[in-house]
Amino acid sequence: MSELSVNHLLGIKYLNESDIQLIFETADHFKEVINRPIKKVPSLRDITIANLFFENSTRTKLSFELAEKRLSADVINFSAAQSSVKKGETLIDTVNNILSMKVDMVVMRHPNPGAGVFLSKNVKASIVNAGDGAHEHPTQALLDSYSIREKLGDVNGKNIVIVGDILHSRVALSNIFALKLQGANVKVCGPKTLIPKFITSLGVEVETNLKKALEWCDVANMLRVQNERMDISYFPSTREYTQQFGVNKALLDSLDKEIVIMHPGPINRGVEITSDVADSKQAIILNQVENGVAIRMAVIYLLASKIKQ
């Protein structure tokens, strides 16, 4: 077994294919661990990890924290809302203050794209990007690919469509990088206003007709409309968005094959997918959440093994 080619997980962009395979193989072992009666291994008992969340999160934060605890790491949590950031402290100062408490690894979510890269160049710790603005969300993309691999056996050669707000989505960008790296065919689908102009330069196709996109694909990854990042109106109304880009049971039943439905959460039920689709057998949304813990354990374990004593 080799080791990761990187010392930080800042984005899928910085990984190669064998890194992804190594993470998946390691996650297989951890998935077995988290299904044991006692779901914990002592590997990281001498590692301390700080979770710095400068932006709201439920799933990712819990998932990271659980992964860290399952590996026996010591964990400290930080949310920007209750911190000195509000008093005007810079990011480097905040992090260096935390690191002087002998922290080995930082898991960070930040509203600014590139915050992780910036930090990795300025502080001495392994950085895991848990989402930086509309840039990347690497662990989400890894767990999405891992869930596809688990469901369909392989990612290579599969047709995957990402539907929704591509413009504001770090999940979309990381997914595109990860899927292309593994040899999948990727299309994006959504209102033209929410598809970045140069997205085709990443080797993906644009499809504005949802029905056609679903007929083509094996997997549809449904994204949420990120109203909180929208400074202007990108489509006339939520109702119109749902009519054109929402997936419902009738639409799925009209296809001649059964496709897999994914969603990174949080779901806006009745907007991008209806409840009967979200709760159907075709949806692997809750498998994604379970796999998220295994994937994050693998990433943290592999990065920690590169921190020399």
Partner: protein, 179 residues
């Protein structure tokens, strides 16, 4: 690099049968006993013993699992080589069971120390025994000794004991390799 044969295929076969008989002596019908092969190299020995017990001594229903100890090792971040994980496959609980750990070579005892911690994730065993084909005596770092041993070997630290299996390497043989 020189190597010398410690055990031939014939000797290994005799030893495996003796070990199987010793297991039967203590566990009789194996009703409350489970065999655990330690990954990666202990599983071949465990498989072989299970085969002998079932086919040659008619012991029915032997429970066999594989235990990977990678995440329990004490040299994480200390060893130069990255630690390689293997599959754990234990589809039963070891609660109140008599567990027999099976590994090919007992050297420092650190793997067994890790296995003792790892097995606790699957319940609280009644007792744990250790069976090894090769016992490298005088080289232990921990107070761990086998309950069943195939052959005791004196080997110095620069030497390596390599157990080969027909299923894996094409021959049954134990070599002492001088690096």
């Amino acid at each position: 690099m020189s190597q010398k044969v410690l055990l031939s295929a014939k000797e290994i076969n005799i030893i495996l049968h003796r070990l199987a008989c010793q297991l039967i002596e203590n566990h009789i019908d194996f009703k409350n006993t489970v065999l655990i092969g330690i990954q990666p190299r202990g599983v071949f020995l465990a498989e072989r013993l299970k085969k002998i017990l079932t086919e040659d001594y008619n012991v029915a229903h032997i429970k066999l699992g594989y235990l990977d100890i990678t995440f329990y090792r004490d040299d994480f971040r200390r060893s130069d080589k990255p630690l390689e994980a293997n599959k754990t496959k234990i589809d039963f609980l070891v609660e109140d069971k008599n567990v027999v750990f099976i590994d090919d070579v007992l050297y420092t005892g650190r793997s067994i120390r890790a296995a003792l911690t790892a097995i606790q994730s699957f319940g609280r065993p009644n007792e744990i025994e250790l069976l090894t084909l090769i016992d490298r005596r005088f080289s232990r770092h921990l107070p761990i000794q086998p309950d069943y041993r195939g052959r005791q070997v004196d080997a110095i630290n620069q030497e390596k004991v390599k157990v080969m299996w027909k299923e894996q390497e094409g021959e049954d043989k134990v070599y002492l390799i001088n690096k």
